[in-house]
């Protein structure tokens, strides 16, 4: 099995990443997997015991976000699958890359000005090195 994994968060900031992955899938002919990770760390300081309630809702929201990406891919003649996972974002991306033996991983550029971003600059670079070493997938960033 092989393919392209595209980690999607949704929103306008994810559009370049989605577009890049669709273009890559069209170029290579590899199957495309859009990944949304349900991460509930934001509840740690407010409602940590509500994760059971919210995780199902968040997973459905993730499916919905991926549906938009899949529709966009389909409009460009690319079939894509949506995958929703629960857990730590970096770990789940790596796990899916392992699982499908991914050739490429398309992820967004970290927004350095945002405290909420999953990756800081250092973590982002470390993550890219780790993924490329562990899974053999080549990490692709959208063009700025």
């Amino acid at each position: 099995m092989s393919g392209i994994v595209c980690a999607v968060r949704g929103g306008p900031a994810s559009q370049p990443t989605v577009s890049r992955s669709i273009a890559l899938a069209a170029e290579t002919g590899l199957p495309l997997y859009f990944l949304y990770v349900v991460n509930l760390e934001f509840l740690d300081h407010t409602a940590s015991s509500r994760t059971h309630t919210i995780s199902k809702e968040m997973a459905e929201m993730g499916e919905f976000i991926l549906m938009a990406a899949q529709a966009k891919a389909e409009a460009q003649g690319v079939q894509a699958q949506g995958v929703v996972r629960n857990g730590v974002v970096a770990e789940e991306i790596a796990a899916l890359c392992h699982q499908i033996n991914a050739d490429y991983l398309v992820i967004g550029q970290p927004q350095y000005q945002s405290d909420d971003n999953i990756f800081t600059a250092i973590l982002h670079d470390e993550f890219i090195r780790r993924i490329e070493t562990q899974t053999g997938a080549r990490v692709v960033l959208p063009e700025e």
Partner: protein, 575 residues
């Protein structure tokens, strides 16, 4: 044998005789030392608050052993049983941590009355506050806890537990070093835990846990879309109303946890930014939640402390909340008018709408029906319970139990659904706030506000409402409200006309609507922001402040006007 027998009979007779003779003598001695007189009185602090657990002794002048000793009860009263034989000079000493000791010399007439076995009522004693090292320690712990919560450095519950542990550590480990380090012991701390609040929240959590799994919120949100027929401005208004009503019946955090994901999906399907719907929803949640006793944790705190019933909140606050909601709806329509207009040009994704329609259904109709029936009975009991002294915590527990017995869900799941961390947070919070109350910080704040407002009720209404609202934008409103309760209680007693408890409603309005002033002002804001950010629509502090702070100004102004009209003009209390 005969002589021996007579000897035993004699000995036995002597022993019995001795016992018989001894009995009256023992009685006489007992009478001589038995307490016959009763010395009673009441102890207050300088703010006329009753002082419990003060040590009261009756003793001769000098450093002598007390002849009688007792402690004041929760109502500040003491009753000393005094022996009949008393010296000619006597003092009553009242000792209480964090207060200056008081020594009263009894006059001859009082002592004679006591010697005659007559009850004596001493004049009320007023204790003066004593600021010691414990005052500063408890204050620092309280501020530290607020900062840890505000900056998200620790989970709320951990912050409260840490604060509580430091208070106990200082009290128990510090006392052998210096009495000034003592704040209170475990028994004293438990006096400050309001179990009504704990059990009411727990009962409501169980009810909510059943309701939230029925799919009701998803169904309601999608129904709002259907009713609006694609008119986004109308959708926004309906979603605000749905959120407001749900927040008044349940709690804001649960409401927003369940409303946010479905709202994001509706917005995406409509091709608009989810923030244009989420911000109005969360603002409405914070405003409308205070219409009922159970709508917000702050109302539960206020209701329990001030003995305000479910009906009290409905009759005295709901009209003000409705007024504020109207203002908020107009404001949000204006603020998001460009987004609403832009959406008219955007297309609706039919594929997404089909998916939404498929998901937006009641998943457990039987549970929802039963929850509705139990909820209706609970509402009746909440409203009528006041007449039979049925406290809301008992109603909530009975309702929760009835629901569990009726639907018999997986009990493990239900137990997991109870937010135990929040309950522990409340216990820790009560103890930390109790510590600052114990050492006198709350009295200092109450004095300062009391001096500022004087006897002007209008000024007190404005100060309490706006002070609460503005502070709630930067510090967590639950600890703030818990700390303000004794302050408002003091003002309610001292400000003429405040006996209507208007200032407690001001605290409710300020602490809840103040949450709209900043992203960290309310837990509902934080969970909404968290979900929105994970959908790719970050809700920054600056963005929330820009939209939320004007909403605070509008809603708090309208609610203040209502409170002034209702309590000062329509129903002024007789001072």
């Amino acid at each position: 044998m005969h002589t021996q027998a007579r000897f035993y009979v004699l000995i036995s007779t002597l022993v019995l005789a001795g016992l018989v003779l001894a009995m009256p003598r023992q009685s006489a001695k007992g009478q001589g030392t038995e307490a016959t007189g009763l010395l009673t009185g009441t102890v207050y602090d300088h703010q006329e608050q009753l002082v419990a657990d003060a040590r009261v002794t009756l003793q001769p002048p000098g450093d002598t052993e007390p002849l009688a000793e007792t402690r004041t009860q929760a109502d500040g009263r003491y009753a000393l049983s005094v022996p009949q034989s008393l010296p000619d000079q006597l003092t009553v000493r009242i000792l209480r941590e964090h207060f200056e000791p008081v020594v009263m010399v009894l006059d001859a007439a009082t002592i004679q009355s006591l010697q005659a076995g007559q009850p004596v009522v001493l004049p009320d004693t007023v204790l003066a506050r004593q600021i010691t090292a414990s005052f500063w320690i408890a204050t620092l712990v309280f501020i530290g806890m607020l900062l840890l919560i505000a900056f998200g450095k620790l989970h709320n519950t951990l912050a409260a537990l840490l604060g509580m542990s430091v208070i106990f550590a200082v009290s128990y480990l510090g006392r052998p070093i210096s009495d000034e380090l003592f704040i209170f012991d475990f028994r004293g701390a438990l006096r400050y835990v309001d179990w009504n609040v704990i059990f009411l929240i727990m009962g409501m959590m169980i009810v909510i846990a059943v309701v939230e799994r029925t799919g009701m919120f998803q169904w309601l949100a999608f129904a709002a879309y259907r009713v609006s027929r694609g008119r986004i401005w109308l959708l926004m208004l309906i979603l605000m109303m749905v959120t407001g009503v749900a927040s008044a019946a349940l709690d804001n955090v649960t409401t927003m946890l369940l409303m946010t994901p479905i709202t994001v999906q509706i917005a995406l399907a409509l091709g608009i930014t989810p923030l244009a719907l989420l911000i109005p929803e969360v603002l409405a949640s914070n405003v409308a939640g205070i219409s009922t006793l159970i709508g917000t944790p702050t109302n539960i705190l206020i209701g329990s402390y001030a003995k305000l019933s479910f009906t009290d909140f409905l009759t005295n606050l709901t009209p003000g909340v409705l007024l504020a909601m109207v203002g908020l709806m107009i404001y949000t329509q204006l603020v998001y008018r460009s987004d609403l207009r832009a959406s008219d040009a955007g297309g609706v994704s039919s594929l997404m709408m089909e998916k939404l329609a498929e998901r937006a259904r009641i998943t457990e109709p039987d549970h929802l029906k039963k929850a509705g029936i139990v909820g209706a009975f609970m509402l009746i009991l909440f409203i009528a319970g006041d007449a039979i002294h049925l406290i809301p915590a008992v109603t909530a527990l009975m309702g929760a139990t009835a629901l569990l017995v009726w639907i018999q869900p997986d009990i493990e799941e239900m137990i997991e659904a109870v937010d135990w961390t929040t309950l522990v947070f409340f216990i820790g919070l009560f103890i930390v706030v109790g510590a600052v109350q114990e050492v006198g910080l709350i009295s200092v704040i109450a004095d300062a506000i009391g001096q500022f407002v004087g006897s002007n009720l209008l000024l007190a209404v404005i100060v309490v409402t706006w002070f609460s609202a503005l502070l709630s934008t930067v510090i967590a409103n639950i600890p703030f409200t818990a700390a303000m309760l004794p302050v408002v209680g003091y003002l309610t007693v001292t400000v003429p006309g405040a006996q209507s408890k208007v200032l407690f409603y001001c605290l409710s309005v300020g602490s809840a609507m103040g949450g709209n002033g900043s992203l960290i002002g309310a837990s509902a804001n934080m969970v909404t922001s968290g979900i929105s950010e994970r959908a790719g629509y970050p809700m920054s502090y600056a963005y929330f402040f820009k939209k939320g702070f004007p909403a605070l100004l509008i809603t708090v102004s309208l609610a203040t006007l209502w409170l002034i009209f209702h309590f000062l003009i329509q129903n002024p209390a007789t001072p």
